[in-house]
């Protein structure tokens, strides 16, 4: 299973609808400072069910809603992640699985699996069966490498313990 595409709307600097199409091998995302590269990583974690706004570099989930258009700001943020599921690693009989999360100001999160509304629990359990978990070591945010390099030997042992 791999990510085919990420759709963003109203997410931080992605005030206008945007899409990132990814390939199966090595994709590199680049661009000037402040252009929105790390925001894409945040949007992926948002869609995978990240609950801590601090992990998404915001004070609250509503902080994720794009503030660029001051005159007419969006009232919601929406991120969809489309997986290629040809190997059926996600237990859904479909070669394409799209999970999405939407959040309306003053409202709650709406999670969907292939356009069908689901609970966050259903979404995270589905993803877990393909070894996709929002807190895993497979997503390394900016500056995390420097922090990881400075951990104490006790912390390093605990990282290995968590793996066991």
């Amino acid at each position: 299973v791999y990510i085919k595409r990420i759709d963003l709307r109203g997410f931080k600097t992605f005030g206008r609808k945007a899409s990132v199409r990814l390939n199966q091998g090595l994709t590199v995302i680049t661009g000037p400072n402040g252009s929105g590269k790390s925001n894409i990583l945040d949007s992926l974690r948002f869609a995978l069910g990240e609950l801590s706004p601090k992990e998404l570099r915001g004070g609250s989930i509503s902080d994720l809603i794009s503030k660029t258009n001051v005159a007419n700001p969006p009232r919601s943020v929406y991120v969809a992640v489309q997986f290629d599921n040809s190997d059926r690693r996600l237990p859904i009989d479909s070669s394409s699985v799209t999970i999405s999360r939407e959040f309306h100001k003053g409202g709650e999160g709406i999670y969907r699996i292939n356009s069908r509304r689901s609970s966050r629990k259903q979404l995270t359990e589905l993803l877990s069966s393909a070894d996709i978990n929002v807190g895993g070591y497979n997503i390394v945010p900016q500056h995390a490498i420097t922090r990881l390099a400075e951990v104490t030997s006790e912390e390093r042992r605990k990282i290995v313990e968590d793996l066991v």
Binding site: V1, Y2, I3, K12, T13, F14, G15, R16, A18, S19, V20, R21, L22, N23, Q24, G25, L26, T27, V28, I29, T30, G31, P32, G34, S35, G36, K37, S38, N39, I40, L41, T68, N69, R89, A130, D131, I132, G136, Y137, N138, I139, V140, Q142, H143, A144, I145, T146, L148, A149, T152, S153, E154, E155, R156, R157, I159, V160, E161, L163, V164
Partner: protein, 158 residues
């Protein structure tokens, strides 16, 4: 509990040395239990022998040496528990040109088994990609553009 830990630890250590020696071309890396008799009362240190240098603990390593070693540690962890995709945000920021090139080669190699999405500002990393996306601000909003491979270098600079 000790047995399960030691089992994972030995596989992790073997992964770590394999990856470290590949990326440094001849270096040797090993994870060291500070208290092998009583694992959980001691920590886990990381000893590194970079080519042409004596063995040192990661605590004494330079900024870039720490980066290289930590990336190897992460990839070693992933070998124990593979995941379908990996997303790395500027893990090459402190690497010199040679280390960046070797890291990009390593990620390219591993991307045959898992999907790798890498955010980077370095030409060396960009040039190894199967696909490149440029992000830029237009009218205050982030835009995404697919960048063709060989012209990437000059496109990114505009």
């Amino acid at each position: 509990k000790r047995e399960t830990f030691m089992d994972v630890f030995e596989r992790l250590n073997s992964n770590f040395n394999e990856i470290f020696s590949e990326i440094t071309v001849g270096g040797k890396g090993r994870l060291v239990l500070e208290n092998p008799e009583n694992i959980f009362s001691g920590g886990l240190d990381m000893n590194l022998a970079f080519p042409g240098k004596t063995e040192l603990s990661i605590r004494s390593a330079s900024g870039g040496e720490k980066s290289v070693s930590t990336v190897c540690f992460l990839l070693a962890l992933q070998g124990i528990h593979p995941m379908p995709f990996y997303v790395f945000d500027e893990i090459d920021a402190h690497l010199d040109m040679i280390n960046s090139q070797r890291l990009a080669d390593l990620l390219k190699e591993r991307s045959k088994d898992s999907q790798f999405i890498v955010i980077s500002l370095k030409d060396t990393t960009i040039s190894k990609a199967d696909g490149v996306f440029g992000i830029f601000i237009q009218g205050g909003f982030s835009q995404v553009i697919s960048l063709p491979k060989p012209e990437v270098k000059s496109n990114v600079r505009n």
